[in-house]
Symmetry: C2
Subunit: 346 residues, 2 copies
Amino acid sequence: MANCIAGAFQAPYAKRHAPQRIAAVFSAALLLVAVACQLSAAADPLPSWNDGPAKSAIVAFVDRVTREGSPGFVRPEERIATFDNDGTLWCEQPNYVQVIFAVERLKSLATRHPEWRDEEPYAAMLKANPEQPLGGGLKAFEKLLMATHAGMSTTDFERIVSDWLAHARHPKFERPYTACIYQPMLEVLSFLRASGFKTFIVSGGGAEFMRPWTERAYGVPPEQVIGSTVKTEFKLIDGQPALMRLPEVDFVDDGLGKPVGIGKYIGRRPIAAFGNSDHDIPMLEWTTVADGPRLGMLVHHTDAEREYAYDRNSHVGQLDKGLDVAQARGWTLIDMRRDWKVVFPE
Amino acid sequence: MANCIAGAFQAPYAKRHAPQRIAAVFSAALLLVAVACQLSAAADPLPSWNDGPAKSAIVAFVDRVTREGSPGFVRPEERIATFDNDGTLWCEQPNYVQVIFAVERLKSLATRHPEWRDEEPYAAMLKANPEQPLGGGLKAFEKLLMATHAGMSTTDFERIVSDWLAHARHPKFERPYTACIYQPMLEVLSFLRASGFKTFIVSGGGAEFMRPWTERAYGVPPEQVIGSTVKTEFKLIDGQPALMRLPEVDFVDDGLGKPVGIGKYIGRRPIAAFGNSDHDIPMLEWTTVADGPRLGMLVHHTDAEREYAYDRNSHVGQLDKGLDVAQARGWTLIDMRRDWKVVFPE
């Protein structure tokens, strides 16, 4: 909203003549008044959250860092918040969406690769139900990714991802995966941005698997999406420049890699971080074990009816050690069943 | 400016009561009017530029992409501009500032490393004048960087860089290196941002060598600084989290690496790019060889009196092939002597 106002004001800078400029500014002023009235009518920034410790923790933290002159005040430039994606912003059950994408893509490519029928790990994966855990460990998983995520330009990969997401449906909720995002977390993202925060995704998932849709789904632009990457190479192909995706892992933005990714990409320490699994512990440590006001939160999947219930023994998004250390670290658990009025957007 | 207004509006979201909120909004409205008056008095967004093809190219491009409803209009989200640093935003003669920093740091560390006196490439470097080209090629240079840029936490490295920059002086201009930045380019950065652009640095220099000061010098925050990196490791040291800089190159953001860096970090294609050397050619190709309005510019150092004059045969910032292909590619040369009224800020 504030961005729209800033945009309305910025765009004409170059060319408008003074009277037009002043007229534009007065329109912006009127808009501001209209917005102020709207705000006082709808003061709750987190309407999908039930009152409780989780909601209170968020509201109190934002209040503390934005109140000018208070000891907890943080300059807007330093208001960095990071969010895991799988299980924190969207549903990661019955399997990571990107794994389902990879297996389905492997199957659709198999007609061009008859040799896969007799070659592991492909042979097993071609018979696999992508909603079940994949066997074969990390090595097999890497081979799956390289066979399905490399060998094309970044532009082509973006199209492949967008096309797949347009048609794929979540097996339980029968809606696009990009509609299986958490409404209460969308409100947190908006609330933080309206409070001067820059919101980043920091996910073990592929950066280029997320960037085609995060802006529309979450309001997070591609340049604020940090994820795992393959190496790329710049080439002129028939005179046209392209970035080609190579079958080689560049960076794994998971677990201990998350603070590393934050250092590489953001270059300053977040003051708020949201995750849901043990893989997010290093990110939450990097964010919260420091001076000044800090917020660390873990989504606890406790809602078998409206979503899924899983933690210590799950094959995706395992939350085990995190449950043990949260209290000592001052992290707040978000109890999905208790804290959220709705799970997905209407 | 618009950001300040947005900030004034955003910060109170959480807590202010309605009357306060409305008062804040009215103050913002008054501010907008004041700003409008100021704008009509100073309409030239590039006051340090002489009229000519370079200034015209910038103004016409911004006009084209910001005029709503026109065929060249670009959504603000897509308005990405990238800038090389050395020789494009600040002075890179008589040698890259980071090389001077590295050699001076090697000398200051040498008391703790008596073995360097007899070990190459250190022995030669300890005797070298850092304002002259360093011998030994890339291997030697990498050893210099690893000896001086690794083995400490990112926080410590930031302090080391800031301390050095606070005391070091440019040999010709006798002012801090961070004051040897180009006033006309500061105006381009501001003009683009005021026109809804996001401005990024994409430099062969170290990301963490630049991030401590780019926000103050250029208004470019750390998360919009892309540069070369060493690998880092996340560790808890006595319970305190740290990112340790390892003596291993992670990514070289130079030449063909620049579009790769843009793909990794930004994930969308810029529509404007500014460089000054042959190392910037791939970035300008990636930016400009595409549909829609595009701007590619190269700073040509033609001013031996006010700065330096160098191009085809320079040991830093060599501009050779770039001079030959600029016209064919539609890139505009910025002739420092002719186009800039002043070089550095007063």
